[in-house]
């Protein structure tokens, strides 16, 4: 096993999967010669040719719409959206077609496409390079969503997404593209969708998060050491959601703090809280607390830290639960 950065693990997954399956195509803005603005697709065009990894015109609805047609012609497209907020022009295709076409054919046709994109804030970027759009995707019937937090999971979840018969959106935490580093299994490596990862075992409170919020939750757990034993649950897959892991952890600790950087209202943390309310309410010793971004546009980067969930806010929420 070699150590890889998160973005290198993504690149590795694409190489391995394209090698394995000649029906996989990679398309998107600047993914070819440049290898993507984050270099996630670097080397693919050289290795597999311009027919299998190609630059598209600057049109996200066109990218996703043609991917639907490519599926119908028997290909397995992996499309890159250059940034979170720039995927929005494709939402019409996503909601009205990607998520419905299989159903529309009464299951006769499959749409095994993958949409991957960097997401999230904290990168000191100009406006609209910071969004956490998972809710839009997870709210769309017919579409699955995965969000890795580690290099190994970035590789394994992307491989699972590519192999999955359904459309899968994979959001990659750009904040950790080049800071998260870890041993990543060589060759084929698949992390099944729908399996959470216990990032840290604990007994007093469960910090539930995904993607870029996992390192933050771990730092909060560190900060609470001696005071409380925190369990950190990395959901990894938002849909399908590993309810067993969620319920097992919360029934053990009796306390849950859900962390997400997206705005709060109707965000994924609300879904987690609802599942806990429906299925674990008698195991809970207090309310389910959310630490989230706020219901405002993502701010100017000089004050973005005030918007993003912080260790202090997570610790504060955990302490409020422990004191109750």
């Amino acid at each position: 096993m070699a150590e890889k950065l998160l973005v290198e693990a993504v690149n590795d997954a694409l190489h391995v999967e394209m090698e394995r399956d000649a029906s996989i195509l990679v398309l998107g803005e600047d993914v070819g010669k440049l290898g993507g603005v984050f270099r996630a697709t670097a080397g693919l065009q050289e290795r597999f040719g311009a027919d299998r990894c190609f630059d598209t015109p600057l049109a996200e609805a066109g990218i996703l719409g043609t991917a639907v047609g490519l599926c119908m012609a028997g290909w397995r497209p992996v499309v890159e959206m250059q940034y979170d907020a720039f995927s929005y022009p494709a939402l019409d295709q996503l909601i009205n077609h990607v998520g419905r076409y299989r159903w529309r054919t009464r299951g006769a046709m499959s749409f095994p496409l993958t949409i991957r994109m960097p997401y999230g804030g904290g990168v000191r970027a100009p406006e609209l390079h910071d969004d956490s759009p998972e809710t839009y995707y997870v709210h769309t019937p017919g579409v699955k969503v995965a969000i890795p937090s580690t290099p190994a999971d970035a590789k394994g979840l992307l491989a699972a997404a590519i192999r999955d018969p359904d459309p899968v959106v994979v959001l990659e935490p750009k904040l950790h593209y080049r800071t998260a580093k870890q041993e990543v299994p060589e060759g084929e490596h698949v992390v099944p969708l729908g399996e959470a990862r216990l990032a840290r075992e604990g007994t007093d409170v469960t910090l539930i998060a995904y993607g870029a919020m996992i390192p933050l939750a771990e730092r909060a757990a560190d900060a609470l050491e001696g005071e409380a034993s925190c369990e950190v649950l990395d959901l990894r897959s938002l849909k399908p959601l590993d309810e067993d892991a969620l319920l097992a952890s919360v029934s053990k600790t009796g306390r849950a703090v859900v962390v997400q950087e997206a705005p709060r209202v109707a965000g994924f943390a609300a879904e987690v809280a609802a599942v806990l309310a429906e299925k674990a309410i008698f195991d809970l010793q207090g309310p389910v607390l959310r630490v989230t971004g706020y219901d405002v546009p993502y701010p100017y980067w000089q004050i973005e830290d005030a918007y993003m969930p912080s260790v202090e806010r997570v610790v504060d929420a955990a302490r409020r639960l422990l004191a109750a």
Binding site: L34, L58, A59, P89, P126, D295, A306
Partner: protein, 355 residues
């Protein structure tokens, strides 16, 4: 002007090369106007070059360089009246400078400081648009709305060659044609969208050819020739004011700097072609033209450049002197009448930050 469809073939040009290509001139521009236009060009060039330095020094964040795009911005803006509105993309971030917007404001935008988020009504320059092409319908709506009110105001949207692939561009252009909005769709064709060359962006012979599909004239102009840009835009403004509707202008240049400070073009661009473009860059071309015409002296050149440098020095000092933004600003301005939860959120955040 009676422009007929389809698009003009060659590029409009006014400035010669001082040798085989003769210089032309633009009717109605006297020495004072020619010099004012030169000042605008130098101002934008200086803003851009200083910004790249400030970025290297860590004084501004990621920055979209517009070197060799100045003639398009200054030339087009010069054809407008103050009451006309400009809808810029990130590439025209500093275009407000030619309307007296303080350099510190634009620098603050690139510094991620709230002082950079200006009021569009101050200089009739809309907010910087980051998502490609999505402001084209805004400009069209503004122009249409002004027309409905009987106001004589033109709107111009600046966008790139890549933007002409986006749905929002097509929809905006379609609306402009149908409503006969007094709008100008100004395409900065620098022949690259980050690493994607024009040939991979469109199969159309020229971008101006697209105009026919929206029922408007398409002009093609040398984007490094500030006078040609001015003249073409003036024609479009005249059409708009005469109630003849929108015009598409394709101004052709060559992106001879990285897409933005974070970009490494060595992976995809031909350095010789860049060198060629740099040699015929737009500010020097206009400067030599004015010297040939006897309008500009070495002395004036120096004083104009010094003036621009001084403005930038003051601008960055002012931007850096802005007090740190209060975290409470996170919760402001999104709503006129905010949900009560925002005040609770702020109170909680202050408690945690304070403790």
């Amino acid at each position: 002007m009676s422009q007929v469809l389809p698009a003009e073939g060659g590029l409009r040009r006014v400035i010669g090369d001082g040798e085989s290509l003769p210089d032309g001139e633009v009717e109605g521009l006297g020495d004072a106007e020619l010099l004012a236009l030169y000042r605008d060009l130098v101002l934008l060039r200086t803003y851009d070059e200083r910004s790249v330095v400030y970025h290297r020094q860590g004084r501004i964040g990621t920055y979209a360089i517009f070197w060799n795009h100045e003639a398009m911005q200054a030339g087009a803006a010069f054809a407008l009246e103050e009451r006309d509105w400009i809808f810029p993309s990130y590439r025209e971030s500093a275009i407000g400078l030619v309307r007296g917007m303080p350099a510190s404001t634009v620098l603050s935008w690139w510094r991620g400081h709230p002082a950079g988020w200006w009021n569009p009504e101050d200089s009739n320059v809309a907010s910087i648009c980051v998502p490609i092409g999505t402001h084209v319908p805004h400009a069209v709506g503004f122009a249409w709305g002004s027309k409905l009110k009987g106001e004589d105001r033109v709107a111009i949207a600046f966008f790139g060659d890549g933007a002409t692939s986006e749905g929002a561009f097509h929809e905006g252009a379609t609306f402009a044609g149908v409503t006969k909005a007094p709008a100008i769709l100004f395409c900065n064709n620098n022949q690259w969208a980050i690493s994607t060359p024009l040939a991979e962006q469109t199969a159309a012979p020229t971008l101006a050819d697209k105009a026919i599909g929206y029922g408007m004239p398409g002009l093609r102009v040398d984007g490094c020739d500030v006078l040609a840009v001015y003249e073409a835009t003036r024609d479009a403004v005249e059409r708009a004011r005469a109630g003849e509707g929108p015009t598409f202008i394709e101004a052709v240049t060559y992106r001879s700097a990285p897409h933005a400070t974070a970009d490494d073009p060595s992976i995809y661009i031909d350095p010789e072609r860049v060198e060629e473009a740099r040699e015929s860059e737009c500010v020097g071309r206009y400067e030599r033209y004015l010297v040939r015409a006897g309008v500009l002296t070495e002395e004036t050149i120096e004083s104009v450049k010094n003036e621009a440098l001084e403005l930038m020095r003051a601008g960055i000092a002012e931007a850096e002197a802005e007090p740190p933004a209060d975290p409470g600003l996170v919760f402001e301005h999104a709503y006129a009448d905010p949900p009560a939860t925002l005040a609770d959120d702020l109170a909680e955040l202050r408690r945690i930050l304070g403790g």
